[in-house]
């Protein structure tokens, strides 16, 4: 299934990337090649196979309900590109 550049552009939007013309061409070709390779999995009969999402198939790891300090606000903001001392600042949402 050859991937179209338009489809790849749509994936880039979903991934919040904005590819230039060169990168778009390059990644369209690479993705196409890798996806074709991955499609060898189609030959595996897997109808009765339970998917394995994780190496440690644990459920319900519980922790004691103990109060402890979290990061201070200053520490949490210390790496922010833009903040006002209380909140992270971002460009207008709308």
């Amino acid at each position: 299934m050859p991937l179209s550049q338009a489809a790849v552009e749509q994936v880039a939007m979903l991934a919040r990337l904005r590819l230039g013309v060169d990168e778009l061409q390059r990644l369209t070709r690479d993705l196409d090649q890798i996806i074709s390779f991955v499609e060898q999995l189609d030959e595996l009969p897997t109808a009765d196979v339970e998917p394995m999402a994780h190496a440690m198939e644990l459920v319900n790891v519980l922790a004691d309900d103990v109060e402890r300090d979290s990061l201070s606000r200053d520490a949490a903001l210390s790496n922010a590109p833009k903040h006002d001392g209380e909140c992270y600042l971002v460009p207008a949402v709308l």
Partner: protein, 506 residues
């Protein structure tokens, strides 16, 4: 006595007996780094002041007779993907060029508590995505055995640093082979512990169901000592295992008898370099002379490992890397330039389809900050998880993962440990595979299985190619079999001297 020629275990003894001080050990490492890191390029940051201060403190406490940790005074290098409080932690990415975490990873806190002296942070493929360290957003790392070749990756800086005698040992992380393959390429020992053996708290995530941190050292005994210090349950990582940590360092010298080794026949096929095959076959005979029983095992679904891995890891990565949004930390695009761009698009009539400034900020920030391989994997994962494709790719890969795990479970019915090559070739030349991502991915054929199955595996030196490049032997064991892996590796190292060879550049 030359400090850089000592193994970590020997250095611990010298420090305890007072023949060497922590300051002397630290200065010796800093001297080697000064001398050869311009060529090797293993370090992204060397924290000379912090290391000296930590070493002085150890020496003072030792002089005062205070109790000290098991690694007290021994320098160590750490891959730049583990958070170090108020020190750079870049993950090899321009996105985090100025990031300084407000806390230590649990692994780092354990190293400090054990008295290790953190010398600095090592180079890596950006966000641990790569097999050659060439995807670093900052610099090239060269293989100390041949400076025209890659050190392997993604933990190439840590492996090269140990091989170049800059530090006696180091920490890396392994998602698909990123400790074992650079260990093989650089002629050192590298262990990927069982998933959950070592805490991932503060380890910047690439593929969370596969990531695991592990030690590099020159000997199995060194790796045993380091693993003992970092392993164990961590309440801050709910996927860390509650299993007790055996005293690996005390048991590593006990030979394993009886020992049945399963030779993975599927790992001796097409694509395996003849020099690698020759050395691994010799290692099989060496184990036989040491009393091991050798049997053949098959991992019939192993050939699907690369395909499954390059779906699952990018899917998890595309989700994990969504956090680099230019809001909480990391690179943000120049907002004035961005606003001007949006204004000119409005003039040009994009009208109702215009993107919000927030979305454009995300897109520009991420696109500027990430390198090509990171974009490739985010795109691959986003595609495989997008509506209409999830069952076809992600679910199918998870089913293949189950079949791969079942293969291992069956193989471990027949053998205590599995043996094969770590990588199909020795270190390749810089640039050789950079333009062909798929060919680089195929180099992970023998290593991804252990990550997908969540089992323990290590690589140790077992010879050299005719060109003088190190060759790695991989041993794999069931979950929580680190003790047996290390004991088997130690037996081999008592009978061979491949691990004692050193590159001429160091």
């Amino acid at each position: 006595m030359s400090i850089p020629s000592l193994s970590a275990t020997e250095l611990v003894q010298e420090l305890r007996q007072g023949h060497v001080t922590a300051v002397q050990a630290t200065e010796a490492c800093l001297d080697v780094i000064d001398d050869n890191d311009a060529d090797v390029g293993a370090f992204l940051h060397v924290d000379a002041a912090g290391a000296r201060q930590a070493a002085e403190q150890i020496d003072r406490r030792r002089a005062a007779g205070e109790p000290l940790g098991a690694l007290a005074g021994v320098p160590i290098a750490v891959k730049d993907v583990l958070c170090t409080k108020d020190q750079p932690t870049t993950c090899g990415s321009q996105a985090l060029a100025r990031f300084q975490p407000p806390y230590d990873a649990t692994l780092i806190a354990r190293l400090r508590a054990a008295g290790a002296v953190l010398i600095g942070k090592t180079n890596m493929d950006e966000f641990a995505m790569g097999s050659s360290t060439e995807n670093s957003g900052f610099q090239v790392t060269r293989n100390p055995w041949d400076l025209s070749r890659v050190p392997g990756g993604s933990s190439g800086g840590s492996a090269a640093s140990v091989a170049a005698r800059q530090v006696p040992w180091a920490i890396g992380t392994d998602t698909g082979g990123s400790v074992r393959q650079p260990a093989a390429f650089c002629g050192v020992v590298g262990l990927k512990p069982t998933y959950g053996r070592v805490s991932r708290f503060g380890l910047v995530a690439y593929a969370s169901s596969l990531d695991q941190a592990g030690p590099f050292g020159r000997t199995a005994a060194d790796v045993a000592l380091l693993l003992e210090a970092i392993a164990g349950h961590d309440p801050q990582d709910s996927t860390s295992a509650a299993q007790p940590v055996p005293p690996y360092s005390q048991r590593v010298a006990q030979p394993l008898k009886p020992l049945t080794i399963g030779v993975i026949r599927d790992h001796f096929g097409e694509g395996l370099h003849e020099d690698v095959e020759h050395s691994v076959q010799q290692a099989i005979r060496d184990f036989q002379s040491l009393g091991a029983k050798i049997v053949d095992v098959r991992l019939p679904h192993g050939k699907y490992g690369i395909a499954a891995y390059y779906v699952i890891a990018p899917c998890e990565a595309s989700s994990n890397l969504a956090r680099y949004d230019g809001v909480h930390y990391g690179h943000r695009t120049d907002e004035a330039v961005m606003q001007a761009e949006l204004a000119s698009e409005r003039v040009a009539g994009a009208g109702g389809n215009a993107e919000s400034p927030l979305v454009r900020m995300y897109r520009r920030s991420r696109t500027e900050a990430f390198g090509l391989e990171v974009k490739r994997r985010i795109m691959l994962g986003t595609f495989a998880l997008s509506a209409g494709y999830q069952d076809r790719y992600y679910l199918k890969a998870q089913q293949a993962r189950r079949l791969i795990r079942n293969d291992y479970d069956q193989a471990f019915q027949q053998a205590d440990l599995l043996l094969g090559p770590t990588a199909p070739t020795a270190a390749y030349r810089l640039g050789e595979k950079l333009l062909d991502p798929l060919s680089m991915y195929l180099g992970d054929l023998y290593t991804v299985g252990a990550n997908l199955a969540g089992i323990a595996a290590l690589s140790l030196p077992c010879g050299f190619t005719r060109q003088g490049l190190p060759i790695g032997l991989q041993l794999q064991g069931p979950p929580f079999s680190e003790e047996n892996l290390l004991r088997a590796a130690h037996m081999y190292q008592m009978a061979t001297d491949w691990h004692a060879r050193r590159p001429s550049s160091s």
